[in-house]
Amino acid sequence: MITMATVWLDGCSGCHMSILDMDEYLIEIFKRATLVYSPLVDHKDFPEMVDLTLVEGAVSSTDDLAKIKKVRQHTKTLVALGDCAVTGNVPGMRSMFPVSAVMERAYVENADINPGAPTQKIPPLIARVRPVHQIVPVDLVVPGCPPSAKTIAYVLDRLIAGEPVDSAEIARFG
Amino acid sequence: MESHELDELAARERTRQGDYHHQIGVCVGSGCASSRSPQIRAALEAEAKKHGHACRVKGVGCMGLCGAGPMVSVDDDEVLYQHVSESDATRIYAGLEKGEPVEDLVIANDTPFFTKQVRVVRRNAGKIDPDRIEDYIAEGGYSALRKALTEMTPEEVIDEVRTSGLRGRGGAGYPTGLKWSTVSKMKSPQKYVICNGDEGDPGAFMDRSVMESDPHLILEGMAIAGYAIGATQGYIYVRAEYPLAIERLKNAIKQARKYELLGENIFGTDFDFSIEIRLGAGAFVCGEETALIASIEGKRGSPRPRPPYPAESGLWGKPTLINNVETFANITAIIEKGSAWFSSIGTEKSTGTKIFALSGKITNIGLIEVPMGISLGEIIYDIGGGIPDGHEFKAVQTGGPSGGCIPAVHLEVSVDYESLKALGSIMGSGGMIVMDDTASMVEVAHYFMEFSKSESCGKCIPCRVGTAQMYDLLALIISGEATSADLQLLEDLCEMVRDTSLCGLGQSAPNPVLSTLRYFREEYEALLVDAKPVEAK
C-alpha cells in the first residue's frame, strides 16, 4: 500500500473530474493506494511524506508557489497532471498581459457591482504563469486537457506498481 | 580606350603630378571626415592657393590610424600629422616651405604600427585621390585588366588566381580560384559577378575603407573576374549606411565608363563589362550570399537552402560569382605581380595579407594590413600599441557576432584561417575587438546575441526563436537568477542552433557563447544561483 495525494493549483478542476471519471476503477486503485491529501477529501495539512502526488493546475500566485515547493519537499514521486500543470494552458493565457491589466479587466471592467480589486486574503499573482516543472523538479508529465480517465488509470497502475510509464501513451496536449 | 592609351594617360598624369613641389594628402575616409577633414582640406587648399599652386592638396584614402584622425600626409607619408584642425593649415604650409615639420602634430611613421604592415590591398591608400581615376592610373591602375584581356586566356587568369592561394576575405576562406573555376564551367549565356560590400559586422570597417580609398581597385578586380568566368554584368551590393563609399563607387564607375575601361570592347577586345551599384538597407543577413541575391532581386533578404549554390543558380537563376570587396581588391596585384609573388606572403594555406579593423580597448585604433601568419600578440602589442590606461589584455573578438574570443594564453597564435578556427573563432571579415580586464565575457556574449537576434531574418525556427531564447537565458544569467539547469539549456540550444539553422548567420550565432564558455566558463558559473563547479566536458 502506498500513500497518494492530489493537489489543485491554478486549473479548472477538470483533471480532478477526470480522476473521478475512473468510476469503479477508483476502487481498484484504492486497494493499492491510500489517498492522504486531496481537495476531494478532508485533510487540512499535507503529510510529512507522500509516495505519489498528482498536481493539477499551473503555478499562478505566490500561494501556488509556496504550495508546490512544500509538496515537492514532502513527495517522493511528483506527477504534473494535465496541460495546466505541464504547459500553463488556459491559466497561462494571461501571461501576455501585465498583472495590473489582468486585475483591472477582471475586477473593474467586468464587474457588475463593487468594482475594485480585492485587497485582502487573495494571494498576489506572479508576473507570469509557469508550468510546475519550471518551478520544482517533476518526475512525470501527463499532458491532456484533461488527460482521460483511461490515461490516468494507466499512469497510476504503472506508478503504483513501480513500473516505467511509456510516454508515447500519454503524449498529446489538448 | 586602346591599350597604348593607358600608358599615355599614366605618363601624362605622372608628369602633371611631378610639377608640384609638394603633395599634401588629407584623409577623406569616413572616420576623418566625421572629424572635419573636408574643412581641413579646404583650409589647406586656400593656403596653397595663396602660395601659387606649387603644392597639390588632395583627398586621400584612409591611412589607417583612425584614432589619431583627422590625419594629413605630406609627400607620400614622408611626414604624417595627427589630430589636425583647420587652424593648423597655415603652420603646416609654413613647415613645408621651411622644410621643418610641425613638431607637435607629427606622428612618427617609423613605429611598428607602420613598419610591421604589408600593404597590398591598401597600397594606394594615403597616396591617391579616390575621386580621380587619373591618380589610380598613374599608379599603374587598370594595367592588370589590360594584361588579363590582351595577354591571358580566361583559363590562365583563373589558374593564376588559383595558384596564388587567395581565399575569400569575407570570412569563410573558400578558395577564390576554385569558386571562379566552378562558375566559369557553367554553361549559360548570362552570368553575373557580384561584389559583396555589405560589411555588416559591428566593429569592422575594412571594406568600407577600401571602397572609399581605392574604388577602382574593386572595379578592376571585378572586371578581371568577369573576363575569367564569362560574365558581362557586375553588381556591387553596398550597405546604405556607407554613403561615402557609394558616392565614390558611383563616381568611379562613371569615370571608368568615360575612359571606356568599363562598357563595350574594353581595350579594343571583344570583352564587355558593366557594373551597377545596388544598395542594401540595413540587414546583416544580406551578407549571406543567397540573401544578398534575394535583396538585389528586390526581395526580403531571406537566405535559401544551398545547394544549388549561386555558382550554379544565383542572381535571376543564372550562374553567379560572389566575392567580397577585399577579395576582389587582391586580384590586380595577383595578375600584375604573379601568383608566386602573392603566395610568398603569408602562410602555406593562408596566403597574402589581411586587413583588420582594430577597435575597443587598444591604443592604436584603426585599420591595418598584415601578412597572414603574423602572431596575434604582434598585432595587439606591436602594431596596436597594447592596452591603454594601465589595463591588462583579456581577450580579442574576431569574426564579430559569428566569431569567437581568443584569450591571452593564445596570443602567440598565428593569424590564419585554420589556426583561428582551431581556437573556436574565425578569421571573419577582419574585425578585431579588443577587451581589457574590465570586460565581462557573459555580457559580451549577451551583446552579440542581441545582435544575432535582431538580425535574424526569421525564416528558420532555430535561428528565429533560438537566438531569442538564448538572449533571454543570457540575460537571466547576468541577472543572477539562473541555475545550472539554465546554463545547460543554453548549451543545448547553442548546439542545436549551430547544427540546424538554415544559413551561416544562425549557424554561427552561438559562437560567441560557445567560445566565451570555452575560455571563461567560470564567469558564467559565478553568476549562477547554485554556483558550483560543473565538471569539464
Binding site: - | S30, S35, Y242, G282, Q397, C457
Partner: protein
C-alpha cells in the same frame, strides 16, 4: 492575350513623386527596383507611408504584401514619420565597448524617448545604428546628420538639449 497594364498615377502632385517615379523608370519599372524605389521614397519624404508603398507596388507590379514585407524587413526603412530632430546612437561593437549603452540610457532618462521612439510632441526621434563605421570615434552619435565623436552621457544630453532649444533641425 497581354494584360493591359496601366501605369499607376502618383498619389498627389507633390513634386517629390517625380523623383520616385524617375528612380523606378531607371530600372524599367522592373520588380527588382523595389528596394531602390523605397530608398528614394525614404530620402524624399523621410519615411514610407502606405500610399507611397501602394504607388511603388502598383508601378512595379509587385504584390502589396510583398512590398510591405520588404519595407519592414530592412531596418533602414521607416514606416513612421521621424521627429524634427533625430539622434542616432551607434551600437556597433567598438561603441558598445566604450559605453554607447550609457548614452542611450541617459537620453531615455532625460527625454523619455527610447530607441526607435519619437517623442509625443514630434520633436525628437532616437535611433540606433549597427555601426557607423566611425569606430575610431567611439562612442559616436549622429545628431541631425552631424557625427558627434567620442560622446559622454552628459555631452550628448547637452547637445540634444541645444538642438531642441534652437528649434530648426
Amino acid at each position: 492575350m497581354a494584360v493591359k497594364s496601366l501605369r499607376a498615377a502618383p498619389p498627389s502632385d507633390d513634386k517629390r513623386w517625380l523623383l520616385v517615379n524617375a528612380a523606378m523608370r531607371r530600372y524599367g519599372y522592373q520588380p527588382d527596383a523595389l528596394i531602390e524605389a523605397l530608398h528614394t521614397v525614404q530620402e524624399s519624404f523621410g519615411y514610407i507611408d502606405p500610399q507611397a508603398l501602394r504607388f511603388v507596388a502598383d508601378s512595379l507590379n509587385v504584390p502589396l504584401s510583398h512590398a510591405y514585407g520588404v519595407a519592414t524587413f530592412y531596418h533602414f526603412f521607416s514606416l513612421k514619420k521621424l521627429g524634427r530632430h533625430s539622434c542616432v546612437i551607434c551600437t556597433g561593437t567598438a561603441c558598445y565597448i566604450k559605453g554607447s549603452g550609457e548614452l542611450l540610457h541617459a537620453i531615455e532618462e532625460k527625454f523619455g524617448v527610447a530607441d526607435g521612439e519619437t517623442s509625443d510632441d514630434g520633436e525628437l526621434s532616437i535611433l540606433t545604428a549597427r555601426c557607423l563605421g566611425a569606430c575610431g570615434l567611439a562612442p559616436a552619435a549622429v545628431l541631425d546628420s552631424e557625427v558627434m565623436p567620442k560622446q559622454t552621457a552628459e555631452e550628448i544630453v547637452t547637445l540634444i538639449e541645444e538642438a531642441l532649444r534652437n528649434g530648426k533641425s
